[in-house]
Symmetry: C2
C-alpha cells in the first residue's frame, strides 16, 4: 500500500533506520532517502536496506512529500528552520521525539503540514546497527495534533503508523509530556542512578534484578540529556512523586514496620502484575 | 553423583522447589522430602516431581543428612530452634536467605553443621508453580562460612551448588549483606517505588523501559518486607548513595546543565554496558 512518493528521514539511527526498514519492506513509498551527519551511518543504513540512498546535507530533503525527523529533540528543533526553507509547503512533516510540547509549538509554526508523533518503541541500544522494523509492531504511537494541524496530513501520518503495525493514540502534546515523564523519563532517571550507585568491584554480583532495572541505563546519553532538559518541569514533578514513594519504604524500614512494608509492596505487586 | 541420602527442604516455593527439581534430576540424593505449611503447595511440588514426598509438620526433618531452609528470612530464624531439636547433630544445615548476617549468627549457634548460602537466582515470580531447575545454572551462589563452620559440611554444601550448575563465591556474611544491599535490595526498593509512582490510567502507556525497570516490583511482598528489615542498615546506606545520584541528575536538569547530564549518563552507560 503506497502512501508516499519520496520519504526523507533525517537521522538514520535506531528509530529512523527502523522506520526506513519498515517503510521499504511494506512498500509504503517509492523511495526512502536518509540524511545523517556521518557517512558511516549512511553507508550502514544503505547496506541493511533501511534507505535507498543517503546524504550528509539537508538539501536532500527537497522534493519530499513526507519528512520524518528522527534526531534527538534539541537537534530536531535546531535543524527545523533550515529544513523549512528546503521542503515545499505541501510536504508533510512528522517527528518521533520523546518530548512533544516544545517541539510541536515550534514546528507547528515552521511547517504548514506538521504532525507530532512519538512511537513508544525505544531501546537501550542506539544506532542503525540495532535497527529492526519489528520494534513498531504492537507498540503504541502517540500522535499529538493541535488546533492548526491539517486534517489530511494527520490522516496520512496516522496511516503510516498503522501500516507499521503500531496502535495509535491521539492526545495533546502537554498531556503526552506529563504521561511520558512518569512512565518513561522517570524510569530512565532511576536506572541511570542505580547503575551509578554500584561500585565497580560489586558489578560481578549483579543478577537478574539489577540487570533488568538498569537495562535502559545503557541508553544514548546524548538523546536522554536532551529529553531530560526538554521535559524538565514534568520530570521534576515525577521525581517528587518517586522520592515520596522511596521515603515511604525508607521510613517503614527505619521503624521496622513490617505491616506498612507489606501494604506498600502489595500495591506495587498489584500494579506491576497488570502489565505483561 | 549422589551427595546425600535424605534431603529435607523446608519451604517448597520458587527456590526450594527449584532445588528439589534439580537435586532429583541430577540424582544427588536418595530421597527429597518437602515441608510446607500448605497442603496445596506440597501437592503441586509432588506433582511436578520437585519432591518425593511432602509433609506439613517440621518433624519430617528427622533423619535428614541435609536440611535446606528455603523460607523467608524471618520465618527461617523463627523455625530454627524447633528444627534444631528435630535434626541430628550430624545433619548438615544450609539456607538460601537473601540476607546473611543475622541468619548466620543465629543458625551457627543452633546447628553444629550450619553453612549459610545465597543463590543469586531469584525471580519476580514466586511459588512452586514457577520452579525450574534451570535457575541455578550459571548463577552465582554466595557461601558465607564463619570461623566455626565445619570444613566437611562446607565442602558438601559447595559440592551441592556446583552440581546444580552455580558458580561459587565465598565471603563473610557481613560483606554479602553490604553487596546485596546495593546490587539487589536497592533495585527492589527502586522498582517498588517506580510502580507505585504511576497512576492507574497511565499504565497503558508503559512501554519496554517501564516494564523492565519494574519487573521485580511483582516480587513476593512477604519475602521482601522481611529482607528489607533484616538488612536495614545496609539498605538505608545504599538508599543514601542512590538518592545522591538522583539528586545529581535532578540538579543538572534544574540548571539545564547539558554537559553535566552527559557526564552522568555516560558513566551509567559505561557501567551498564559491562553487564550482559
Amino acid at each position: 500500500m503506497k502512501l508516499f512518493k519520496k520519504v526523507v528521514i533525517v537521522g538514520t539511527g535506531l528509530i529512523g533506520g527502523s522506520i526506513g526498514l519498515a517503510i521499504k519492506k511494506k512498500k509504503l513509498a517509492d523511495t526512502v532517502i536518509g540524511i545523517s551527519r556521518r557517512r558511516s551511518t549512511i553507508d550502514l543504513a544503505r547496506k541493511i536496506k533501511a534507505i535507498d540512498s543517503g546524504f550528509q546535507g539537508l538539501s536532500a530533503a527537497r522534493g519530499a512529500d513526507l519528512l520524518i525527523l528522527a534526531v534527538p529533540v534539541n537537534t530536531l528543533v535546531k535543524l527545523s528552520p533550515r529544513l523549512s526553507k528546503i521542503t515545499g509547503r505541501e510536504c508533510i512533516v512528522t517527528d518521533v521525539g520523546s518530548t512533544k510540547e516544545r517541539i510541536v509549538a515550534k514546528l507547528d509554526r515552521l511547517f504548514p503540514n506538521f504532525v507530532g508523533a512519538h512511537p513508544l518503541a525505544g531501546l537501550e541500544k542506539s544506532g542503525v546497527a540495532n535497527a529492526c522494523r519489528c520494534i513498531f509492531e504492537n507498540a503504541l504511537c502517540i500522535i499529538t495534533p493541535t488546533k492548526s494541524t491539517n486534517k489530511r496530513s494527520l490522516r496520512k501520518v496516522a496511516a503510516l503508523w498503522k501500516a507499521l503495525g503500531s496502535r495509535i493514540v491521539f492526545m495533546p502534546a502537554k498531556k503526552h509530556d506529563r504521561i511520558t515523564a512518569i512512565v518513561s523519563h522517570l524510569p530512565h532517571v532511576a536506572a541511570f542512578s542505580l547503575a551509578n550507585s554500584v561500585p565497580a568491584n560489586y558489578l560481578k554480583f549483579a543478577a537478574g534484578g539489577f540487570k533488568s532495572t538498569t537495562r535502559i541505563a545503557a541508553s544514548d546519553p546524548q538523546a536522554w540529556a536532551q529529553i531530560f532538559i526538554a521535559n524538565k518541569k514534568n520530570i521534576l514533578n515525577s521525581l517528587c512523586i518517586f522520592e515520596k514513594n522511596i521515603d515511604g519504604i525508607k521510613s517503614a524500614i527505619k521503624k521496622e514496620d513490617h505491616a506498612a512494608l507489606i501494604r506498600i509492596l502489595k500495591r506495587s505487586q498489584q500494579i506491576r502484575e497488570k502489565l505483561a
